[in-house]
Subunit: 342 residues, 4 copies
């Protein structure tokens, strides 16, 4: 039983760490996969763990209980960021496949240790960059790869949240580049299929002075030039009054592809003064509902059939490197070269 | 146990009749309702029944077996149209609540008998006009009811299929007005909140002469004037090369509301010659995926909590009357008055 | 000097009849044509005539003065509808080419007399169906003719004014079908390239009871079935709260073409609750600004180079026949056959 | 006759320098202004000058002739960039008002000399940043100023040409930042109503190696942080396969405003595979047709009524400073501070 799967029934038993909102989404999605069974829910909040376990006929466990059960074939890590690295390393040690929410860790050193651990163990480790599984984004990527717009030359990413999280959260978030732009850095690498050569980041705190007091900013403008000379601009804001704004566009040598927002309904209203439609889906849970379902299906498909995963721990590391470079660029007020001594 | 619900567990056991594509959708949706259990699948095609039953841990039964089981609290009827009336009447006789796909029956007389049977039995009988549960359509209706565009005055419905069904199906379909426009007639009544006074229908067979040979048409243009003088135009076609087209718009005294199609993705492509986006969702199973889920949830919510259903057997009768009037108008080449001796 | 053109300078001298808003538009547009000179402005309102004449270095004249001047090569008739027929006949008698606003006349008999007069005289007579010159509409027509959507099968026309004219105007307008839908009937013939076989019209007075008292309606729904079995639905309203709404769509055997409204600007605004853009151009003067310029250029190009005009007096007659049929259908509550004894 | 206007008739006589495509557009637009007369056309290409003069009943002159004629009240300078400064200075010396195409000059020193010359002379000097007169852009600006989205915080500008000019043109253009982004820098200042504090520019040559050989790039990504901490990102490309792309969006504290492209027609086509509409207007002559008309009207309105102009020579200087800063940033691979010793 080298891969932890339950051979008798060909069912993979799973432990979910973290019963918060993203944990509940992954639990519901994995419960729908044929051949996958949610066995344990682990959370320091026992009530939350119990509620989620009950919903899916699973049991509450603690970390050791879940990690120590040889029948568990895969772990799904949705707990707080500071627990990710330990849980990944433990999973790897127990030869359990791992799905872990981003980021791997807030420090490159620990993230690299994770990469090495899963590499040594030979287990699958997928990082939850769910945007790559968004139907619009993945359709765009497929068309790009099919050559529809020739060679990609420029990427413009707009990534804005509907509102800033509590300042207390921000204080422990690793800063906007690691907490929020980590996704955009992954989009950059995935879409342009190239690595950053230089990066420039600037930003401001415009919505709430408390964010500045916490040492962070809420609005950023990042520019990346890749090794092949391709250009990427990312603009982000913690607060877009009209909601969650997740778009990007790729200019290619023979055309352009745009990925737009999703609207709750297709109602258009005509009044005396304007023609209006819905604002975008409210936030990530709504916008990426389908993406979350697809990524979990992808993970278990990879685990079951020995296929590669689309978002590896190496991708997590690369995104983290970009976040660190952005942070340095912003703090030092200069463009930085990736790989320069930091 | 007057309402057939399983009192011990507060679970409603359900029998699904018909294991075709719509039966499979309803089965999957009802299996997701808390407190609802799929117990039997009934289909003359035993293999299809067995496959669907296996997927949800249910059993295969025949009509008598399912109807005779007092623990069955509700039936979900997705079998062929000619079986609807009998199954509704039997369900009513057994005091089982009924969810039945449209149309109730191809004849008004039998449909009326169904209405009387469920009325006498005091059971819930919901007809599957799923469009009323489409997120876009129901959001529009709510805004209309809230007075956003004043008094509704004119309704324009565009309802086109991506392609005609086999001629053999058409031959037994009751004709385009009962088979296809039945949904549009229900939309008309629901949106304008009024009853037809006069109706004019015309049409042509433009896509396939075999449809004309079968005595039917594939393209229609219907106009209804309501008792309050409101106007409705419906245009339909069996074949829209670009896919399934389901739109309507309501002109009100102070504005307009439009309900548009849903697209699979929000990718926009710019080429040398055009800016393009996706064609609409392919057909009803894709376009109304959410609507089907919402209507089944609505049915079991109504059954469980004794609430009224949004689409009653009376609505089914009214839509059928309009379909009959349209058929007569088309055949006789004249506008008809609703309620005139036929 | 058979065609009335000023041979010495190769300039066509023109008399404009009517100095109202449409007269002013045509005067400004013709003044921009190379080789065309506005010589006379004729209007019972001498002040209006004088103002318009002054603006373009022209003179005020009365009907006889303008018609009697042999140097006048073309007349542009923008006076009130009841003067059209006489002015056309006089122009023809004087061998002057004629551009006349729609409708030719409110009666078929007089309109036919006009057709005969211009036919005998051999002069160009173009009727001002400017919509055929709208950039969007004419681009759609060209693509349709190029076979982009195969054979046209169904046409849906939406034609709504931002508000009803004064009831006194309506009283002398010939009714909504001759006053407003005359344009839509012309669009129907032009786009489907077919003639009506049967027509059904219904309508209501929903915006202002005074319109009903004047014997007219403000909302109509017309259906036409052509000789080749093609279908057309036209919906119109005198009052669309959101402005002037001029759209149509053609379903063809291999696709669909839609002609949409034009917006004053391409600003999109995102607020907390909606994404909004401009309402359509306010009314015909704004929406059809380019169309008016194109049609006048087309007229003088035809006159100068002996080319056929796109909108002939015969088109005016056909549109009028449809308006009369619609009026009869509405009054008698029945579908009518074109060409039936009235 | 201190302001050079022709007092007898209250007509301003104008000399146009440059009979190329932009000169022809300005000539046609100014010929339409009431009270404005095109008297001279000056161009080293006498044939072009003669053709344009003939079209508007003007005369051909040389520079001295035009400048020396005291009846000339205003000059419109559309000749090659290297002539702008001299012609501005001469116009000022002759007390003639000046409309001059961008840029004022390729060097800051000469541009400053122009500013001083017109300042001393007390003449109006307007620089042709026509984008500020685009109906969409100016409507957005008015709504922004009215507070519709609160405080502006972030500006994203997309500015792409349909294709690169000949390399020989590029060689003398002053580089992409002075030749192309000069407009975008003006948009930045106008929209954010703030001045740059730091600027970072990077870029690549992706479409044609000959551009790199000429020492220039064809794709740029610029980021500006303003004194108030607002952020601006500009992305430009010399070649967008789908045409001329001129958009920007402003994120404000309470919403967002987007300015989109203009399409030649509002036709939408549905095929088996896609829903498509027109690509944007082809290039600046088409896209900014209305803007050119508005800016000339604005100039003569300012001259006639002594009003301030919207785009002054000071604006031209500021845009040039930004272009120089961008050029330096790109060449040196670092963010620069505006006003730093260069």
């Amino acid at each position: 039983m080298t891969d932890g799967a339950n051979q008798a029934t060909n069912t993979i038993d799973v432990a979910v760490f973290g019963a918060g909102r993203i944990g509940r989404i992954h639990a519901a999605n994995l419960a729908r996969q044929p051949g996958v069974r949610l066995k344990y829910v682990v959370d320091v909040n026992r009530e939350a763990a119990a509620a989620l376990a009950a919903e899916h006929g699973a049991q509450v466990a603690d970390i050791d209980g879940a990690m120590g059960d040889a029948s568990i074939g895969a772990t799904v890590i949705c707990s707080s960021t500071d627990t990710h690295a330990d849980l990944i390393v433990q999973s790897a040690a127990q030869k359990k496949h791992v799905f872990c929410e981003k980021p791997v860790d807030l420090t490159l050193a620990r993230a690299q240790a994770c990469a090495e651990a899963v590499g040594r163990a030979g287990v699958v480790c997928m990082i939850g960059f769910q945007r790559r599984f968004d139907p619009t984004f993945s359709a765009l990527k497929a068309r790009l790869d099919a050559g529809e717009i020739g060679t990609p030359e420029m990427l413009v990413v707009t990534s804005r949240d509907p509102g800033a999280p509590p300042v207390d959260y921000i204080r422990h978030s690793g800063g906007i580049f690691k907490d929020m732009l980590i996704h955009d850095f992954d989009i950059f690498r995935w879409i342009l299929d190239d690595e950053a050569d230089t990066l420039h980041a600037t930003g401001s705190c415009l919505s709430d002075p408390a964010i500045a007091e916490a040492g962070d900013i809420d609005s950023t403008a990042v520019t990346i030039r890749t090794k092949r000379g391709r250009l990427c601009q990312i603009n982000t804001a913690r607060r877009a009054a009209y909601g969650y704004d997740q778009r990007f566009e790729v200019l290619g040598s023979t055309g352009m592809l745009q990925a737009g927002n999703v609207r709750p309904t297709e109602v258009t209203a005509y009044s005396k003064t304007e023609v209006s439609s819905d604002v975008p889906e409210a936030f990530f849970l709504e916008r990426y509902r389908a993406a979350y379902a697809h990524e979990i299906a992808h993970f278990f498909d990879a685990v079951t059939h020995g296929k590669p995963v689309r978002t590896t721990v190496a991708d997590g590391l690369k995104a983290l490197e970009l976040a660190e470079a952005a942070s340095r660029s912003w703090r030092e007020g200069r463009a930085v070269k990736l790989g320069e001594a930091s």
